[in-house]
């Protein structure tokens, strides 16, 4: 077996810029101390794959409105609770009597809804293809069990269009670490058109230290040869075609729509929303597009797309820290700024 660790540490070719799109990859890279194992000529850039970070403030505002509505309970994953909308976060309004519950799984909603039939339970449905599959399964179960007092407020995003956006509008990325778990659902073939169009390689990677290093090795090698190809380094769960049952279930309940990404504006066809016939399960997800950054100097928009590093932002580490976050990149534990701050990353 090739000594990929030595190769990566000693690499002395032209500088390469590799983007990891997925927020969980950003966290895994920091967690494993990957930057310390790479030659300084291999630069890792964090991309827009942190659903909390790319959610616009109007979505949070709508969520807050719902949480303060009589007989309505908002259920959410952990991170969303502390993200600020145009003024407040869900955490802030709990003090005003807002009904907010943190759950591990959206499917917990089924039990909650059955236990309290007089209340409407709204899930803060953010996420990429991985989690969209879970929301589809939730709807399937809800319909089968005839549970009607649940809703989704969606801010669902998909990968291909946004990757295309980064390559087209920004460029400067030599290779992509493709999201491991999104690919479980979509299949690794999804990246082929992008690899061909932009002539950059994609490596689908897992989340363990070893898996990340192997994927980075494969990318640097492939970049060296100017080869725009897709490589699957997570074959235990990722196949070329993906999970087709999950894909069908997603298309059954959701349809493609335009989506607003913090810092990028509206990217056409980059999101998903509940189909018309399932409107009854929607909590008002359409056209939540506007976004208010708090501080005029907040560079989240640039950081999310990899145009700048957290350290490039004037507020980073001074006005903006995890205790006093100015933007979503610092609030979410998968945000680039948070990750860089708590790990004192310089690279």
């Amino acid at each position: 077996m090739i000594d990929y660790r030595a190769y990566l540490k000693e690499y002395d070719g032209p500088p390469v810029r590799i983007m990891e799109i997925c927020g969980t990859h950003t966290a895994a890279i920091s967690h494993n101390g990957i930057p310390s194992l790479l030659s300084p000529k291999i630069q890792l850039i964090s991309g827009p794959g942190c659903p909390v970070c790319v959610t616009v403030t109007e979505y949070i505002d709508r969520l807050i409105e719902l949480s303060l509505t009589k007989d309505t309970v908002v259920a959410t994953f952990g991170d969303m609770i502390r993200v600020t909308g145009s003024r407040q976060s869900l955490q802030d309004v709990k003090a005003d009597g807002a009904q907010v519950r943190m759950v591990y799984s959206p499917l917990d909603m089924l039990r909650l809804a059955q236990e309290e039939p007089s209340k409407t339970f709204v899930f803060a449905a953010v996420g990429f293809e991985t989690t969209i599959a879970v929301y589809a399964a939730l709807l399937d179960e809800a319909i089968r069990q005839n549970i009607r007092n649940i809703r989704l407020l969606t801010s669902l995003k998909t990968m291909p269009r946004v990757i295309d956006w980064v390559c087209t509008m920004q460029g400067g990325i030599d290779g992509f670490l493709a999201p491991g778990h999104v690919s479980v659902i979509t299949g690794s073939d999804m990246y082929e058109p992008l690899a061909k169009k932009h002539g950059v390689p994609f490596a689908v990677a897992g989340f363990e230290g070893e898996q990340l290093l192997m994927a980075l090795y494969a990318l640097v090698r492939t970049i060296e040869r100017g080869d725009g190809r897709v490589m699957n380094l997570y074959p235990s769960v990722v196949s070329a075609k993906g999970n087709e049952t999950a894909q069908h279930m997603i298309s059954k309940y959701f349809t493609v729509c335009d989506a607003a990404w913090r810092g990028m504006g509206v990217v056409p066809d980059s999101g998903m929303i509940l189909r018309r016939e399932f409107e009854g399960y929607d909590a008002g997800s359409q056209f939540l597009y506007s976004d208010h950054s708090h501080h005029p100097k907040c560079r989240c928009a640039k950081v999310i797309t990899g145009a700048e590093k957290p350290n490039d932002c004037a507020l980073f580490g001074t006005l903006c820290t995890p205790e006093t976050p100015q933007g979503a990149c610092m609030v979410s534990t998968e945000g680039s700024c948070f990750s860089y701050f708590v790990n004192r990353r310089k690279a």
Binding site: S30, G33, F128, G209, E334
Partner: protein, 325 residues
Amino acid sequence: MSHGSGGKATSDLISSIFAHYFDNPVLAKMEDAAVVPGAARLAMTTDSFVVTPLFFAGADIGKLAVCGTVNDLAMSGATPKYLTCGFILEEGADSGDIEKIAASMADTARECGVLIVAGDTKVIEGKGGIYINTAGVGFLPDDLPAVSSASCSKGDVILLSGTLGDHHAAILSARMNITNTIQSDCAPLHGMVAALLAKNIRIKAMRDVTRGGLATILHEFSVASRGCISIDEDRIPVSAQVQGLCGILGLDPLYMGNEGKMVAVVAAGDADAALAAMKSSPYGTNAAIIGSLTAGEPGTLVLSTKAGGTRMMTELYGEGLPRIC
């Protein structure tokens, strides 16, 4: 709302439950103040306990209150001696629960060799919640060397008394409907500290690993001592179950709270003896040497990861909410 307003109902509550379980000659006098023998130097502490649920795998709010107070005193090198205990009961608090909590506190106090010498009860409007406040007093031996994290220096060795995250994991599992056999590690550490002192270990710093986790404490030590602390992920004990829970919820055991674990920084020459002292305690079976003060940027905590890389760590930010996406 007749309990706690000072009348007969309150005194019935006090005498029937608290006086019974906490029974000792000082408390039995039922005076307004407890008069007790003292020492030249005292350690004092106070804390309040508001955990829910009241009863969880491995412990309850009462045991937590006694151990938490005892441990704060022990970490200063003091022998814990006396506790006070104030209860704030919301209307509707279950008297069966109150009794169980009092019994648990009495048992724990007995194990720790402390007396609960004064108490108070208030009843307020609410939905049945129970909150406990304690104050603790301990005696400091005259010849105790100063223990201060500022004195940690290069070469000193860092020890951890056992597995990380158990308490936090036990509480979280109940809230998130995840089934496991994780127990809170709630335990008194005065015996372990006494064992360290008895062996004349040169202790530079000691702390119990509570909210904020190991990383928060070690980062504080590195800043206070202007040193660089290096630790090895490989050597840090974490149970397989807690590791599994962390994987499901996306948590880091180095930032999770414990209630029965301590970290000690000792002179290198005493490291082995210190480890043996920790292991001599029933609460130290998984004690380990996890790192040391090394050359490096002052005021930093560096972790050598299992993947072979290094990563700098800071104190805990936020509440360590489980992340999923």
